[in-house]
Amino acid sequence: MSRPHRLLSPETAPDAAIVSADDAQAVFARVKKLSKAETVEMQLNSNHTGNTRFAANQMSTSGSVTDMQLAVQSSFGAKHAVVVTNDLTDESLARAVAESEALAKLAPDDPEAMPALGPQTYVPVNAHFDSTARLTAADRAKAALTALQPARTAGDLQAAGFIITGETSVALGNSKDMFAFHRATSANYQLTVRTSDGTGSGWAAADHPDWSQLDFKAVSDRAIEKAKLSRNPVAIEPGRYTVILEPQAVGDLVQLIGNYSDARSTDEGRSPFVKAGGGNKVGEKIVDERVNIVADPQDPQLMSQPFDGDGLALNRQSFIENGVLKQLFYTRFWAKKQGKVATGQPASIKMMGGSTSIEDMIKSTPRGVLVTRLWYLREVDPRTILYTGLTRDGTFLIENGKITKAIRNFRFNDSPLFMLNNLEMLGPSVRLAGTEQGGDIVMPSIKVKDFNFTSLSEAV
């Protein structure tokens, strides 16, 4: 270590880790007092999480983490630099402020630097539940037994799961008196049950800021049922199929659209929303007219942070309405340059659902495939949001309105834009327990035609 350990710090107990709005204001006041920059911007994150992991019907690694990070950005005109530290002693704060100032002075000008925001108005979101913040390792171990006990008793099942709970807070502030604060709790459970002969695998999960909303037994029952049903899969030819995607699979694909919705990339001619001959596709119908996608931190299913990393307030925004692209994302710089309103960068997304249950979708399908979830999605062509990936943990053949057999997993090459153009049915929207990309996501199950499976995988 090149820094001395502070063995007599006034900070002591890990349970003092989650900062309140008042604590954050106090830290920001200390930074502002030390700052000699024209503008100083700050972010203070704090977290305490506990997790329990099990696999092969056995407890594996479990732990708890307490941390806090302060980011200080100092600016002198168009020069700026950020220094991040997790040591909040006076000595460390002084060093972070001085280093960010020194780096900023050395850095070349950033012609796109924007002035710091003044005070903003935020609609608070209550996603903090005291009972969830107080959970212990014993609570998590008890929950894990809802999967471990039936798997051990069955004798031919292997359970692997992960339970993580936590409490976080985020505060933003600057020398122009902008201050934003949000705290939240979280509880997430994901479970994979495999058959001991290695031919079947089922997955189920749940997520909510309030632990009491998680039904551990229901998740365990569902993963076990899927594992048993998916045993001994048969191979069917890859090709274009009518596919029913459960909400988890829909989320992994639909969330990707947001990554390509930046107005600047489109204006620069490198996005799927570039209009042939110039301009963008805002106002054009890009997917089926039943598709509506919003970002709304206040939505009771999303309950996400009501501001972005810059401190811009995030309220309900509609990105796709009745299949029409309504807007692209504008950063503060690009909005100013193009004479538009900055949208902020929402981390939550909801696709509005319909009323058709998965059971009814299955009943309406003469021949199709039911997909539980997707895996390892990677961009193949940014011009069309073409992605590849695989199905996983429960893929079934539907014949004459019924699930008739478990089938081998497929690799797909398809785009969420193509998929949402081929929409046939829409189910109710549910909160997901985490996509590959993360964030607060609410998605429906959907039935689509012509989903493009390009090869078979022997993986179970």
């Binding site: 710090s9 506990g50 490198r270 990677r378 062509d381 011009r383 695989l390 090459n413 993986a459």
Partner: protein, 491 residues
């Protein structure tokens, strides 16, 4: 650290280890002729792991006081005790000789933190300017990403080590756009990240190569879309490292093979070990794959792992046959039968790693490499020996299933080979493969002089997710009759 160990022991731990870690990151990002961001991060804290009655507990705190570390040690023991209620089999550790006072530093000569932000930005902006000279090149994203880890470790076996590692990654993405905006193409992944310092960034000479990379991006606009079909592929080490990573290195992680990653990263087709070791033909006799965390200048290289084990090279695939797995002290005992049969000592291969002080250590990939062939031959020699094929340079899109059977890989630059010669550039190329079939189709590999490193800062695994930086050495290799698809389409 002794406070943590003593507290854990008095609270009931049979074994404990303590890591005090400091991780610093430094980024400078630019686009075209302007700076985007300068960031310096610093995170420091302590992680305590305790084994109580065969069950693990772990707790981490940023508070490096006696009270803070003691509280973490007590919490680690308390978590282990809480988990005892749900335990099945007790964890048993493979013995390891203690290192009482180990000090190690990775192979860097110039610390990136001793280089000014001005010099870093100037290098990037010069490279950007060179690439922008090329007709059709409109946008550049470039960056320098540095990581410095200082890690002190102690365990109740008597090991105490102190290590410093630096990692450096030069980044460029060059975008060329057609005049009528009907197409855009990127050239990216231009240099491997390495476990070295500023001297490596200078060696890679971004300004000296940027124009060539720009030309490669622009040439893709006019390249011929590939015709789907089966081709012989000649894969450059700058591409093949990622195929090795996904299709050999991940499936030979013992925790995956035993189901410990089933809920996230997945399991492995190289399972169960008793049916694979010494039996399964992964590839041809020229295929030798080595795991090695002692390789100088590589991303996964350490003096001792996060359980105090000194790493050494080991062959995962020997003459095409599965020979070993990546292991930690908890896992090596699971293969005791195999090592005894081979007359080898049962010891961990030193693959325990935690991304930082706030994560628990577990089995992570070492540097995993395809060893050179006996015959000294180059990438160009392999192309010259190929009648109809595609030569691929650089890594691109990649995706593989959770047991590592079915994979699809893109690339950066695709050359069409006819009659042993490159006849033009192709675009929209990706190949799909079934892992054992693919490796068994390998019939030519390069020699020692053609050995190069690729690697990643972001090998992901575990819950909560952790990243691991890892290098892969490779020689160019030829694979016969591989299925190639065309990925081009219109929005």
């Amino acid at each position: 650290m002794m406070t943590g160990l003593n507290t854990a022991k008095s609270a009931g731990a049979g074994y404990a280890d303590v890591r005090i870690g400091r991780q610093r990151q430094n980024f400078v990002f630019t686009r075209e002729q302007q700076i985007q961001n300068v960031v310096d991060t610093d995170s420091m804290g302590c992680g305590v792991r305790a084994l109580v009655d065969g069950t693990w507990g772990f707790a981490a705190t940023r508070l490096l006081t006696k009270d803070g570390v003691s509280a973490a040690a007590k919490e680690a023991v308390s978590i282990a005790k809480a988990n005892r209620a749900a335990r099945d089999r007790p964890v048993v550790l493979t013995p390891n000789p203690p290192t009482p006072n180990g000090v190690w530093k990775s192979a860097f000569t110039k610390d990136p933190w001793d280089v000014s932000v001005e010099e870093k930005a100037a290098l990037l902006l010069k490279a950007n300017a060179e690439a922008l000279k090329v007709k059709g090149v409109k946008f550049i994203f470039s960056g320098l990403f540095f990581v410095k880890e200082e890690r002190s470790y102690a365990n109740t076996d008597g090991t105490v080590t102190s290590q410093t590692a630096v990692r450096s990654w030069p980044i460029m993405q060059i975008t060329a756009i057609n005049a009528d905006q009907s197409d855009f193409q990127n050239r990216t992944n231009i240099a491997a990240p390495m476990g070295r310092g500023w001297e490596y960034v200078l060696e890679r000479d971004l300004p000296g190569h940027a124009e060539q990379w720009g030309e490669e991006a622009a040439a893709k606009l006019g390249a011929k879309p590939v015709e789907v079909g089966r081709y012989d592929l000649v894969l450059h080490p700058s591409h093949l490292w990622l195929t090795i990573h996904e299709s050999v290195a991940h499936p030979t992680e013992l925790d995956r093979a035993m189901g410990y990653e089933a809920n996230y990263a997945g399991t492995s087709f190289v399972s169960p070990p008793e049916k694979m070791l010494g039996q399964f033909k992964y590839g041809p006799e020229i295929m030798n794959i080595q795991g090695d965390r002692s390789q100088e200048g590589c991303l996964g290289t350490v003096g001792w792992d996060d359980e105090g084990v000194k790493p050494e090279p080991f062959l995962l695939i020997k003459k095409g046959i599965v020979n070993d797995y990546q292991t930690t002290r908890e896992q090596a005992v699971w293969l005791d039968w195999w090592y005894k049969k081979q007359g080898r000592e049962t010891r961990s291969h030193g693959c325990s790693y935690a991304q930082n002080w706030d994560n628990v250590q577990f089995q992570r990939m070492p540097n995993v490499s395809l060893l050179p062939g006996e015959k000294e031959q180059s990438f160009e020699d392999l192309i010259a020996a190929t009648d109809r094929g595609i030569a691929i340079i650089g890594d691109g899109s990649f995706s593989i299933d959770q047991q590592r059977y079915n994979a699809q890989f893109g690339g950066q630059v695709f050359h069409e080979i006819k009659g042993g010669k490159i006849v033009g550039q192709l675009k929209d190329v990706a190949y799909q493969m079934r892992t054992p079939d693919f490796w068994n189709s390998m019939d030519m590999i390069g020699g020692k002089k053609s050995y190069e490193f690729g690697g990643s800062f972001f090998d992901g695994k575990g819950q909560p997710g952790q990243i691991n930086a890892v290098s892969h050495g490779a020689v160019p290799a030829r694979f016969r009759n591989i299925n190639v698809i065309n990925t081009g389409s219109k929005a």
